[in-house]
C-alpha cells in the first residue's frame, strides 16, 4: 500500500483489507462548531427560562435542564446522530479511531474530560493538545480513542466529463514502458482538464510531455493545442484502449 500521505488524512485499514481515509478536522472548524453549539445551548436554555415562573418546581426543572445541557447534551447527540448540531453544521463527525460511529463509553469519556481541555480558560489545554497531536485530538479524544473527522470529502468533480472520450482527439498509443504513476498522472489530467483554463491546460500538457520518454520519431517539441490533444489521446488510450472496447 501507499506510504502515509503528508496530509491530514488518517488511513485506517478495514477488515476488508482496504485503506479508509479519514479526514481529521483541525482546531478551526472544531472551535466554530463549539461556538455554534454554545449558541444552540443558550437558545435552548432561553426557551426553557419561562419555567422559572413556576417558582420552586420550575426552578428545579431549570436546574436539571442546566445540568443536562452542560454535561449530557454532547453525549446524547454524538451517540444518537454521530455529532452535535454545531458539528453537523460544519460537516464534522465524531468517530472511534477505527472509523466506526462513536458509542456511549467513548463519548462519555471525551465529553467528561472536556473540563480538563477547557482549562485554564476557553480550551487552552485542548487547543495546545490539538496543535501538537498529528490527528488534532484533544485530551478527551486521546483518552477515549476518538477522532473528529470531516463527514463528507468534497466529491471528485469532473468525473462525468471524463466518462466520454475527449472530443476531437483519437486515442493514440503512449510511449511504451510508462511507469504506473505516470499513467495515473495522465489519467488525472484527463479528469481535471475540463475545469482548467485553456492556457493552464496547455501548460500542464507541455509539462507532462516533457517528462515522458521522447517518441522514437524525433525530438519534436509539441506546444499549445497539439500538446493538449496528444496528452488527451494518450489518456483515452490508457482508459479505454484503441477502439474504446
Amino acid at each position: 500500500m501507499l506510504a502515509a500521505p503528508l496530509d491530514t488524512l488518517r488511513l485506517h485499514e478495514t477488515p476488508e483489507g482496504v485503506d479508509l481515509g479519514l479526514g481529521v478536522a483541525g482546531p478551526a472548524p472544531r472551535a466554530l462548531a463549539l461556538v455554534a453549539d454554545g449558541a444552540i445551548r443558550l437558545a435552548i436554555y432561553l426557551v426553557l427560562s419561562p419555567l422559572l415562573a413556576l417558582s420552586g418546581f420550575g426552578l428545579g426543572l431549570n436546574l436539571i435542564a442546566l445540568f443536562l445541557l452542560e454535561w449530557l447534551y454532547p453525549v446524547a447527540f454524538e451517540v444518537l446522530t454521530g455529532a452535535t448540531p454545531g458539528k453537523r453544521m460544519l460537516g464534522l463527525l465524531v468517530v472511534h479511531d477505527d472509523g466506526t460511529p462513536v458509542a456511549l463509553p467513548a463519548s462519555l469519556i471525551r465529553n467528561l474530560l472536556r473540563v480538563v481541555d477547557f482549562l485554564p480558560l476557553f480550551y487552552g489545554v485542548g487547543l495546545v493538545c490539538t496543535l501538537v497531536d498529528r490527528d488534532f485530538r484533544r485530551l478527551g479524544d486521546l483518552a477515549a480513542g476518538t477522532l473528529v473527522i470531516h463527514a463528507q470529502r468534497r466529491p471528485a468533480p469532473g468525473r462525468a466529463a471524463a466518462e466520454r472520450p475527449t472530443a476531437g482527439a483519437a486515442p493514440r498509443q503512449p510511449p511504451p514502458g510508462l511507469a504506473l504513476a505516470t499513467q495515473q498522472s495522465i489519467l488525472a489530467y484527463r479528469e481535471r482538464a475540463p475545469r482548467l483554463s485553456a492556457a493552464r491546460r496547455s501548460e500542464l500538457a507541455e509539462t507532462l510531455l516533457a517528462h515522458l520518454p521522447a517518441p522514437a520519431a524525433g525530438p519534436a517539441v509539441t506546444r499549445g493545442t497539439p500538446a493538449v490533444e496528444q496528452v488527451q489521446g494518450y489518456a483515452d488510450w490508457l482508459a479505454q484502449g484503441r477502439a474504446g472496447d
Binding site: 482496504v18 479508509l20 417558582s55 420552586g56 418546581f57 469519556i109 477515549a144 488525472a188 479528469e191
Partner: protein, 330 residues
C-alpha cells in the same frame, strides 16, 4: 483491464450499492423487493475489492476517489455497534459496575481513605474547637450553615417544606452533586492532583460542617437529615475520585503499556465507575430532596441510613460475582 471496461462491467453493482446506501442513510428500509438490505454486506465487500483493484491498477484518481467515498460511506453501516439500551443498562448496574469497582479495589480504597480520613479527623477536631471551621470557610458561610440547622426552622433543610421546594432542591442536588462527581473524575487527568484536591477538600469541608454543628449542639437537626442519603452520596464521590485516580495511575505508572495505551484502557474502566457513581448520586438526590427533609422521626431516618450503608456495601462487594469477567477480580 483498462479503466473504461472496468467501470462498465461493474456499474450495475455500484448502482445497486448506491441505492442500498441511500436507503440505509435514510430510513433503513429495503429500497425494493428485488434489492433487500441483506445484500448490502456482499455488495460492500465487492466494492472494497473494486476500490483496492482501482488503486493497485492506478486508475484515474477521480474514479478511486469515488470508490473510496462509497466504501467510506458504507463502512459505518456494516460495523455499527448494536443499539440496545435497556438490557445493557440493567446488566451494567446489576454486575458491570460493581465488578469493575472490585477489579480496581486498591484504587477505590485509596480514594475512600483520601476522602473519609480527612473528613473524620476534621470532624473530630472541629467538634472540639469551635474556631477551627473558620480555617476552611469564611464567617458568612459558617453563619449560613448554622442557620440551616439551628432548629429555628425558618429556612432550609430542617424545616417542613412544600413539594415544589423539594423538587427545586432535587434539581439543585442533581446539578451540583453529579457535577462535582464528574469534575472529580475529570480532574484526575491532571496527574491525579485535581482528584486528590477535590477529594481531600470535600472530605475536610463535610467533616468540618458535621463536627462544628455537633459541637454547637445542632446534631439533632443535622444527623437525621444527612443520614439517609449519605451512604449513596459519600460513596459515589469517593468512587468518582477513584475513577480520577485511575486516569492518573495510567499516566504515572503505565506499567508495560505506553502511557496513551494505559490511559485508554483505564479510561474505559473509569467511565464505568463514573457512570455507576452518577446513578448513585441521582438516587442520593432523590432521597435527599424527597425523604431526608421530610417529617419522619429521627429514629426512622437513622434506620434508613443504616440500611443504606448495608445495602451499598453488600451491593458493591457482592453484586455480579458470577457474571462474565467475575473471575478476573483481584
Amino acid at each position: 483491464m483498462r479503466q473504461a471496461p472496468f467501470e462498465a462491467a461493474h456499474a450495475a453493482q455500484w448502482a445497486d450499492y448506491r441505492r442500498l446506501l441511500s436507503a440505509l442513510e435514510g430510513r433503513g428500509r429495503d429500497p425494493s423487493p428485488d434489492l433487500p438490505l441483506a445484500r448490502f454486506p456482499a455488495l460492500y465487500r465487492r466494492l472494497c475489492a473494486h476500490y483496492a483493484l482501482a488503486r493497485a491498477r492506478r486508475y484515474a484518481p477521480g474514479l478511486i476517489g469515488e470508490l473510496h467515498e462509497l466504501v467510506r460511506r458504507g463502512y459505518p453501516h456494516l460495523y455499527r455497534r448494536r443499539r440496545a439500551w435497556l438490557a445493557p443498562a440493567l446488566g451494567f448496574m446489576a454486575g458491570g459496575f460493581p465488578r469493575t469497582l472490585r477489579r480496581h479495589a486498591r484504587v477505590c480504597a485509596l480514594a475512600a481513605a483520601l476522602f473519609f480520613l480527612p473528613g473524620l479527623l476534621m470532624g473530630l477536631a472541629c467538634g472540639q474547637d469551635g474556631e477551627l471551621i473558620f480555617s476552611l470557610m469564611d464567617a458568612a458561610q459558617v453563619a449560613e450553615l448554622e442557620s440551616m440547622y439551628d432548629g429555628a426552622g425558618k429556612t432550609g433543610r430542617g424545616a417542613e417544606r412544600q413539594a415544589d421546594t423539594d423538587f427545586m432542591m432535587f434539581g439543585f442536588y442533581v446539578m451540583n452533586n453529579i457535577g462535582i462527581g464528574f469534575r472529580t473524575f475529570a480532574a484526575g487527568l491532571l496527574v491525579g492532583l485535581g482528584s486528590l484536591v477535590i477529594l481531600i477538600y470535600n472530605g475536610l469541608a463535610i467533616g468540618a460542617a458535621a463536627g462544628h454543628l455537633t459541637g454547637l449542639g445542632f446534631g439533632s437537626n443535622f444527623w437525621p437529615f444527612v443520614s439517609s442519603h449519605s451512604p449513596f452520596e459519600l460513596t459515589a464521590i469517593a468512587i468518582c475520585g477513584a475513577a480520577g485516580l485511575l486516569l492518573a495511575a495510567a499516566l504515572l505508572a503505565p506499567g508495560r503499556r505506553t502511557r496513551l495505551g494505559a490511559l485508554r484502557a483505564n479510561a474505559r474502566d473509569a467511565v464505568v465507575l463514573v457512570g455507576g457513581a452518577a446513578l448513585m448520586l441521582l438516587l442520593a438526590a432523590v432521597v435527599e430532596a424527597f425523604w431526608s427533609a421530610g417529617g419522619a422521626p429521627a429514629g426512622v431516618k437513622y434506620g434508613v441510613g443504616g440500611l443504606g450503608w448495608v445495602a451499598v456495601i453488600l451491593y458493591l462487594t457482592l453484586a455480579g460475582r458470577d457474571g462474565p469477567g467475575g473471575a478476573r477480580g483481584a
